[in-house]
């Protein structure tokens, strides 16, 4: 099975004065599964089209296995793309669609037929070979698009929100399928999604983009537990962000003081270096925010709302200090009725190991 590494250096794309992609550098290892995550318009599709050769960069370089492909046309790159809208050819049968890349590569007929059948087997749709794309359901079309991409074993596969249109169940199935294909073929995959959960479960690394630039690149754990910016903490999973000031930095963590409070508390760093006196944001994930009746916590507030979303119950709490944002705490739902009443005064606490310090401000 072929597989290639990808290196992107200072890649930039502008539309007139608008910078769709600020100079971006990125290394993707052979066989890696990298997910591009980010809000709408953050430049994910732009980056993919530049890598695939479907758009020309204004600056920068693209290297596949250390060979410069910046100016080679799409058809010479050996990079497969699974398009967001599937882009199946409407005038060809499923079979012909899948065989198309083989035909372009002048693969012998018998061989092409065998490989097409194999690819259909892989996506578990051998019975639709003779149909036209419009005769398939959305999920089936999606799988055909995938089959058409894997059939010629490109060294790198780019997938742009490939599961965007599917229902939850089909999406879960397809995720497993894609992971299986990734495991079996060991292809390098760059995957775009809006779904954080999908990103967390599938990827070796996640590249979080914001406003045409990389905000943070790392393993899912890195991004979740050690966000480098408020944006990352906010985007990936729910988080409570509290203003605080650094008192002192030591080997184990930081001494901090929450805004408007005098009692010091502890926090862990996110890998960045802090200096005493620096303003920071303290991130506590909802499931780590403990709620108690007693007034022995670090903060107090009033319960505003209780929401049960399946396995988790969420409590929304307005801190008593007027200028603090609303907080959310979550714990596993139990069959017994909620022990809290709306309007009730509660106290909030957390383990210092779950409180992560993040540099304040949007810049890096």
């Amino acid at each position: 099975m072929t597989s290639s590494s990808l290196r992107v250096k200072g890649l930039t794309k502008r539309y007139g004065d608008f910078v769709a992609l600020a100079p971006t550098s990125l290394d993707v290892a052979k066989g890696e599964f990298l997910t591009l995550l980010g809000p709408s318009g953050s430049g994910k599709t732009t980056l993919l089209s530049l890598i695939a050769g479907l758009a020309h960069p204004d600056e920068g370089q693209i290297l596949v296995d250390d060979a410069d492909v910046t100016h080679s046309p799409a058809y010479d790159r050996d990079i497969g793309v699974v398009f967001q809208n599937y882009a199946l050819f409407p005038h060809m049968t499923v079979e012909d669609n899948i065989a198309f890349p083989l035909k372009m590569r002048k693969v012998a007929d018998a061989d092409a037929r065998r490989r097409t059948a194999e690819a259909l087997e892989t996506v578990r749709l051998p019975h639709v070979a003779k149909r036209y794309p419009r005769e398939l359901s959305g999920g089936q079309q999606q799988r055909i698009a995938l089959a058409r991409c894997i059939v010629y074993r490109p060294a790198i596969i780019l997938m742009d929100e490939p599961l965007g249109a599917l229902d939850k169940k089909l999406r879960d199935q397809m995720q497993l399928e894609i992971k299986r294909i990734h495991r079996e073929l060991r292809t390098t995959i760059i995957y775009v999604t809006h779904d954080q959960e999908e990103a967390m479960t599938m990827s070796d690394r996640i590249c979080l983009m914001n406003a045409g630039a990389i905000e943070q690149l790392g393993t899912p754990e890195d991004l979740y537990f050690r966000p480098q910016s408020v944006f990352v903490a906010d985007f990936l999973g729910e988080s409570n962000l509290l203003s605080a000031t650094v008192r002192q930095v030591d080997a184990q963590g930081l001494d901090i003081v929450l805004a408007d409070q005098t009692a010091p508390s502890r926090a862990v760093g996110n890998g960045a270096s802090f200096t005493a006196g620096e303003p920071i944001k303290l991130m506590v994930r909802p499931q780590n925010l403990h709620v108690a009746d007693a007034a022995d916590g670090k903060l107090t507030g009033r319960l505003v709302d209780v929401m049960i979303s399946g396995s988790m119950t969420r409590l929304y709490i307005a801190p008593e200090k007027a200028d603090m944002p609303q907080l959310v705490a979550a714990y596993p739902t139990r069959a017994s009725a909620a022990p809290y009443e709306i309007g009730q005064r509660v106290s909030l606490g957390w383990n210092s190991a779950d409180a992560v310090a993040i540099r304040d401000g949007r810049g890096h």
Binding site: G10, P23, D58, A74, V81, A87, F89, P90, R134, Y152
Partner: protein, 602 residues
């Protein structure tokens, strides 16, 4: 930071790469758009320029004599006024009666839509000559109408219905109504049908919803139809020449006389200048009011219309629409309740009756001519006996068969050349970021704007100097000039609907540009390309103005032969030829529609 230097070097290399890419891009643009520009410069700009020059320049240098002649008496100004009057009334009638037809077609279900559209298209594609001839027969002393009125006892002796303003108007409306309907339809089909429904949920009664929501949205189509009909009408000569009397002479007929009878190029040029100025004034007014971009009907720019219309005008318009809405709702309320709670998507009976009446009026003359072509009683109604004599005469006459073959050859040539030149230009206008797109588009569409007669006379003059008069090749070039804007327009519409991601997909799967075109782009665009080809073919097949001057004798095309015959005498032979032409066009539409549907089913 260690990388800080490297990007600088790379971007230097990149600039060179960008520059060389820009250069190759310029070459691509030139290769794709060049042939069309060359064609238009050589066979539109140059000939028309020549003609205009001839009006102020004779053997002895600069002169204004033709213009002095033009304004010396009121004769020519009168002709101009009559031309304007006929064109304006025709436009008004076409738009007002065409609107309900287009509306009905845009709202009915798939099956009924196909039927209605078939009749409009059949009429649209039937030769102007055939339709005008059919009216001669219909309105004649022994025609259907007179016979009908006599038998009903309304008149006691045959009335003379021909050769007056009424007959010209009937012929003109018949000729141009299908164009008006199709133009308005293209806009109406793009109006979101949920909007009037949304208005209904917001409390608007049907009348109000129509006048305040649907009607304003359809106005760009009305405007486009109006200008298309007017410009075609003002350059028309077939209908006034065949159906009008001396008092319905139109300005284009004067130009023909000057060229064919007196060979007075200077005077023909002067009349052309007059005509051109009138057309340009109309276009300038249109542009001021609505913006020229609405003409293609493509993107009806909602922002343009309100800003161009001054505030008070807009307020008055709004008040009128509100009033109309209220009146309609009152009328609907006054009707029996059964009518009120019918399904809002179902068209009213009155509307349906009106539309079918109009469709019958525009199709009937041609259909009624068919039995006459098999009769032994000449062109008198009712048809008598049965004979194939007229058809045998046509088939055995080398003049007619030659003319048919000639037209077929020229039509196919025009279709092929227009596609060859027009398709790349359409690609360029839709897909590339070539600067000055709007200007290029205006230039490419100019053969529609400049009255056909001016193009034809100018071309005749230039062809004469090149020895192209009477040659099929010259005629193909000439017809391509007038057909190519339609090809570019339809191909642009087709390309806009085409999902370019399919091309991207093909390229990412390893298809080179040529393979992408061959396996993906062209097969998917096939139906659209075929219909543009047909459009070009039909334009040429029915073209008379250019052929009028550029052909003659044994190299006459079918319309030219038809014209020569019909201006000599009205005979059953012509009814036979008309029937053949009608059936030929009917088959063509049928086949085209079949192909289109098969492609759409994919």
């Amino acid at each position: 930071m260690a990388l800080a230097k490297a990007p600088a070097i790379e971007s230097g290399q990149l600039r060179t790469a960008t520059r060389s890419r820009a250069r190759s891009q310029a070459w691509t643009w030139a290769a794709m758009g060049g042939p069309l520009v060359l064609l238009l410069v050589l066979f539109l700009v140059y000939p028309v320029g020549q003609l205009l020059l001839l009006s102020i320049h004779n053997d002895s240098g600069f002169t204004l004599a033709p213009y002095r002649q033009l304004f010396a008496s009121s004769v020519y100004i009168d002709v101009l006024l009559i031309t304007l009057k006929i064109s304006l009334v025709t436009t008004l009638v076409c738009v007002v009666t065409g609107y309900p037809i287009a509306y009905l077609i845009s709202v009915v279900g798939k099956e009924r839509k196909a039927t209605l559209l078939f009749w409009v298209l059949l009429s649209f594609w039937t030769s102007f000559l055939v339709r005008a001839f059919a009216w001669i027969v219909l309105l004649g002393r022994n025609g259907v109408i007179n016979k009908l009125l006599l038998s009903l006892g309304i008149i006691s002796s045959p009335a003379s219905l021909l050769y007056n303003f009424g007959s010209v108007l009937v012929g003109m409306v018949n000729a141009l109504l299908p164009l008006a309907v199709l133009t308005m339809l293209s806009v109406m089909e793009n109006i979101d049908r949920n909007l009037p429904r949304a208005a209904a949920t917001l409390g608007a009664r049907p009348g109000m919803a129509f006048w305040k929501i649907y009607f304003p949205l359809s106005l760009p189509g009305v405007a486009a139809a109006g200008i298309m009909v007017f410009v075609t009408a003002i350059g028309f000569f077939i209908v006034p020449a065949l159906l009008g009397g001396r008092r319905e002479t139109m300005i284009t007929q004067l130009i023909i006389d000057q060229v064919q009878q007196t060979l007075n190029w200077g005077f023909a040029g002067a009349i052309s200048v007059l005509l051109l100025i009138v057309v340009l004034i109309v276009f300038a007014a249109y542009d001021r009011l609505l913006g020229l971009s609405t003409m293609t009907g493509a993107a009806a720019p909602r922002s343009v219309a309100p800003s161009r219309l001054a505030g008070p005008v807009q307020r008055i318009g709004d008040a009128v629409l509100t009033l109309l809405g209220m009146i309609s709702d009152r009328i609907i309320l006054a009707l029996p309740s059964r009518r009120r709670d019918r399904n809002p998507d179902q068209a009213g009976l009155g509307l349906q009756a009106f539309v079918w009446t109009m469709l019958i009026i525009i199709s009937a003359p041609t259909l009624l001519m068919i039995p006459l072509s098999f009769g032994t009683g000449g062109l008198n109604w009712p048809p008598q006996g049965f004979t194939l004599h007229w058809y045998e005469t046509v088939l055995h006459s080398p003049v007619w068969t030659q003319a048919f073959l000639r037209s077929l050859l020229v039509g196919l040539g025009t279709g092929a050349l227009a596609m060859l030149i027009g398709t790349p230009a359409a690609f360029l206008l839709v897909r590339s970021n070539i600067p000055g797109k709007a200007a290029w588009l205006a230039f490419i569409l100019s053969p529609i704007v400049v009255p056909r007669m001016i193009i034809a006379v100018g071309m005749f003059y230039v062809f004469a100097s090149m020895g192209l008069v009477g040659s099929a090749f010259g005629l193909i070039l000439g017809h391509t000039v007038v057909a190519v804007p339609y090809v570019v327009m339809t191909m642009m519409a087709v390309l806009r609907n085409y999902d370019t991601r399919l091309d991207h997909a093909a390229q990412s799967l390893g298809a080179r540009p040529f393979a992408t075109l061959r396996h993906i782009t062209f097969p998917i665009l096939g139906a659209g390309m075929f219909s543009s080809f047909l459009f070009a073919f039909a334009t040429s097949f029915d073209e008379l103005t250019i052929a009028l001057f550029a052909t003659g004798g044994l190299n006459a095309t079918l319309p030219k032969q038809f014209w020569d015959e019909v201006t000599l005498q009205v005979s059953p032979v012509i009814a036979a030829v008309s029937t053949c032409l009608f059936i030929f066009m009917g088959l063509l539409i049928f086949v085209a529609e079949r192909l289109r549907r098969r492609a759409a089913a994919r």
